[in-house]
């Protein structure tokens, strides 16, 4: 498979997953606000700041908007072109990547991405404010449909594995960020107490975290009614069977990486395999008590850093491939970690006339 095609499959999948996750955060936050309205009014900017913190883009937001409220945050996370991680930007980038490899994906996959793209182009901001849940459900369903179509129309070859890697690395990263931010907020609200509380209003917030990962029902089946923060964290970080937990995501990414390279549990052939194998082992043998005593925030931050390094190694191993003696002459390397879209020679591509 062409390195460029592999890279675009990876980023197509990654951006699609990112769009879905943003829709999930926003949807759940909206519901949460209604639940908590009796304690803190919906206008409380703290709830909205959290959403910006998840995406680590506070500075960029502050440059564009004067305050944190439903309208500005929704605009920034859903529509803003200035925000490279807004749902609109992610879907556009997923589509650009798909478009650059349109011959490598099934036409059904392309039609689905295209459909979502046109849906977003045709959605007015007011429509989202009128029916936020309906809008976010639309995005989530589009993503589910895309996964399903991919599952049923894409051959189980190397390309499939790159799609899986993109999806699961992104998902693990998003879940880690989501937990981290919520943890941060709840610590803050219990006035610096190191222990997270199990008070009912906090539990509602933890439930919201579960919901945004579509994990509440699955959680209940395992832990029944024991809705305490540690169980919730155990489930979201360490559960091996739930498809949106961090551990599950890492296992799935690892499987895909190993299928590509032929690595196995006791033998790795490149750094991407080594790092993901290490991470998977650590998750496999970790306990929530250890994680908490080490400090959840540090643990998650470390996890996010490791994910970045794995991404870098995937890039170096498969996308930036060339043998040392054959330097591509005068050809600039693609910018890492963007796939299609960043600073390409648009002018030069376009200026060739058509016969």
């Amino acid at each position: 498979m062409l390195s460029r095609v592999a890279e675009s499959l990876f980023w197509m999948s990654r951006y699609y997953e990112r769009a879905e996750n943003t829709a999930r955060f926003l949807d759940v936050n909206f519901n949460l606000l209604l639940d908590l309205n009796r304690i803190t009014p919906v206008e409380n900017p703290n709830y909205w700041i959290a959403l910006i913190l998840v995406t680590s883009q506070k500075e960029s937001f502050d440059e564009l908007y004067p305050e944190y409220n439903a309208r500005t945050v929704t605009d920034y996370l859903v529509f803003s072109r200035e925000n490279p991680n807004s749902i609109t930007s992610c879907v556009s980038l997923a589509r650009e990547n798909a478009r650059s490899i349109i011959e490598s994906i099934s036409s059904e996959m392309w039609e689905q991405i295209n459909h979502l793209y046109h849906f977003l182009q045709g959605t007015a901001q007011q429509a989202v404010h009128n029916d936020p849940s309906g809008f976010y459900r639309e995005i989530k369903n589009a993503s589910h449909l895309f996964q399903g179509i991919t599952d049923n129309t894409f051959s189980r070859n190397e390309g499939w594995d790159f799609i899986q890697i993109g999806k699961y690395l992104e998902r693990a990263d998003n879940v880690a960020r989501l937990i981290d931010v919520k943890y941060h907020m709840l610590l803050h609200e219990t006035q610096g107490k190191k222990k997270i509380s199990g008070e009912s209003d906090d539990i509602i917030q933890w439930m919201a975290v579960l919901k945004s990962c579509s994990a509440l029902e699955a959680f209940r089946k395992v832990y029944l009614s024991k809705l305490d923060p540690e169980n919730i964290l155990r489930f979201l970080i360490l559960d091996r069977t739930f498809p949106r937990s961090i551990n599950f995501s890492i296992c799935a990414a690892e499987d895909a990486l190993w299928r590509i390279s032929g690595s196995s549990r006791h033998r790795y052939v490149n750094n991407a395999d080594r790092l993901i194998g290490k991470m998977e082992s650590e998750l496999g043998y970790a306990s929530i008590d250890e994680i908490m005593s080490e400090g959840l925030h540090d643990y998650l931050e470390d996890l996010e850093e490791q994910l970045v390094r794995i991404g870098e190694q995937v890039h170096l191993t498969y996308f930036a491939y060339h043998t040392p003696e054959i330097e591509p002459n005068g050809i600039e390397e693609a910018l890492p970690f963007t796939g299609v879209g960043g600073g390409r020679a648009i002018w030069s591509q376009a200026q060739q006339q058509q016969q």
Partner: protein, 482 residues
């Protein structure tokens, strides 16, 4: 209720109408089609158009317009009424194209080898040697099978009497064939019953024929050759077509940065290392294809590709330097070229052409700017063109200056009489829009011509410019056996 075709205006008689004779009676091969359309209501037509538009948009069947910031992708307008060519007429076209392409290929072989035609002064040497498309580096290089023009798309028009004339030979990287294939699919979907009433020759095998042609030109000794399509990238206006053809042929779509040259061999960069490439169907122009040889600022090409090609380690379709023969000035010599190499009279005629480089012609051109169509010799896509009758005096003066400054670069033709064909404009009204025809010719071991081609239609009232970049659309084109 208003019936379609009840009020169709045949327009000025100097144009040939494809569907109605000068007396206003339908031509026989359109009979069944008209009968059916007369039964349609506006709602029927709208419903069918909607199906097709959604299909096209979802599949991303779009083209890119340069210089427009917003919504740079547009759906390529598709007209619902097909154009019908009876087998008898098609046979003439087929024979004429075969003759013309054969002669043009011999011409290219000659000017890149012994240049006999120049020595015999049939074509002035300075026209060839001074052309910016003449690739000096390729003199003496033998392309596989001696073929230069593997894929061509000549533009054919009809004069007032309905005679087929060649307007342009596109010998470099002609586009549009994907629309031909998509149009057929769309039309079958929208009007299965009408389609079923005719014996329409199929065109769906074009991608297979193209792939076969490409495989045939692989360097000798390369078993199961690795064929790729080279595209300028997703921002190119024909990108949809590049990806469509790659997918239809099952070959890889590559950009310049996917390929590297080492030791005069071409490789693609894959997740498992470098893999040898044998044949490149390139949709990148000569001047962008190798920064070491042509434009050093090009990022679309592959450094070292030209040397690999000269060594015979990789085949290119089309060959380098074919543009020298589809220049609008050389065009006027094609009838002579046909007689010179084949000893035959041309089956398809040219449109009369005046060369600004010829002093007598130049005088005529400058005196008649208001009635002529002036074209820059090296432009395509409807750019760099003056349509005399539609131009202002200021535009004419500007062109006069440009022509005098660089006469070699301009030709003029009478305002061409593109034939007319009923088409929908503004979605509902039937109007006789001007059309042309671009058949696609494949040349490997043999010449293959897919029946029909792309009918382009100027979807503006009275417009003679059919290019998609200038508001043109297209029609499905049927060659029918009676």
């Amino acid at each position: 209720m208003k019936r379609y075709f009840e009020t169709y205006d045949h327009g000025p008689l100097r144009f040939f109408d494809e569907v109605f004779s000068k007396e206003g009676t339908p031509r026989p091969h359109y009979g069944k089609l008209l009968q059916r359309f007369r039964q349609f209501s506006q709602e029927d037509i709208n419903a069918r158009r909607e199906i097709i538009n959604i299909d096209f948009r979802n599949q991303g069947i779009t083209f890119t317009v340069y210089g427009v910031d917003e919504g740079i992708e547009r759906i390529f307008p598709f007209d619902l009424i097909p154009r019908i060519l009876p087998a008898k007429e098609w046979e003439i076209l087929e024979k004429g194209l075969l003759q013309r392409i054969t002669a043009l290929n011999e011409f290219l072989f000659d000017i890149y080898h012994t240049q006999k035609i120049l020595k015999d002064r049939v074509v002035p040497a300075e026209l060839i040697l001074g052309s910016r498309h003449f690739a000096r580096e390729f003199v003496g290089v033998n392309p596989p099978l001696g073929v230069y023009i593997h894929v061509t798309g000549s533009d054919i028009i009809r004069d007032g009497e309905g005679n087929y004339l060649v307007l342009e030979d596109n010998l470099r990287t002609p586009s549009g064939v994907s629309y031909m294939l998509q149009n057929r699919q769309a039309l079958k979907r929208a009007f299965p019953a009408i389609f079923g009433k005719y014996k329409v020759r199929p065109i769906e095998n074009y991608p297979q024929e193209l792939l076969r042609t490409l495989q045939e030109i692989a360097p000798p000794g390369r078993f199961d050759p690795n064929v790729v399509l080279l595209t300028p990238g997703i921002y190119n206006s024909a990108y949809f077509e590049h990806s469509f053809l790659a997918r239809q042929m099952g070959i890889e779509l590559t950009e310049g940065k996917d390929l590297v040259v080492n030791n005069n061999k071409v490789y693609k960069r894959t997740t498992r290392g470098l893999e040898r490439v044998d044949v490149i169907y390139r949709r990148v122009d000569d001047s962008f294809i190798d920064p070491l040889v042509f434009r050093p600022d090009s990022r679309l090409g592959v450094a070292g590709l030209i040397n690999a090609y000269r060594k015979g380690n990789v085949a290119l379709a089309n060959a380098i330097g074919t543009g020298v023969a589809d220049d609008k000035v050389i065009y006027s010599f094609v009838p002579k070229i046909i007689r010179y190499y084949l000893g035959e009279d041309p089956i398809l005629q040219n449109v009369p052409t005046w060369l600004a480089s010829n002093p007598a012609d130049l005088k005529y051109i400058l005196e008649n700017l208001g009635s002529l169509v002036v074209k820059a010799a090296n432009e395509s896509g409807g750019y760099g063109m003056l349509v005399g009758p539609e131009s202002t005096l200021a535009e004419q003066e500007k062109f006069a200056e440009m022509i005098v400054a660089n006469p070699r670069n301009y030709i003029a033709q009478p305002t061409i009489s593109l034939s007319r064909h009923p088409s929908f404009i503004n979605d509902s009204e039937l109007y006789g829009c001007h059309i042309d025809l671009r058949p696609y010719v494949l040349y490997g071991k043999n010449v293959t011509i897919v029946p029909g081609g792309l009918t382009r239609v100027a979807l503006k009232r009275g417009s003679l410019v059919v290019n998609s970049s200038q508001g043109g659309g297209s029609k499905d084109t049927w060659v029918i056996d009676e």
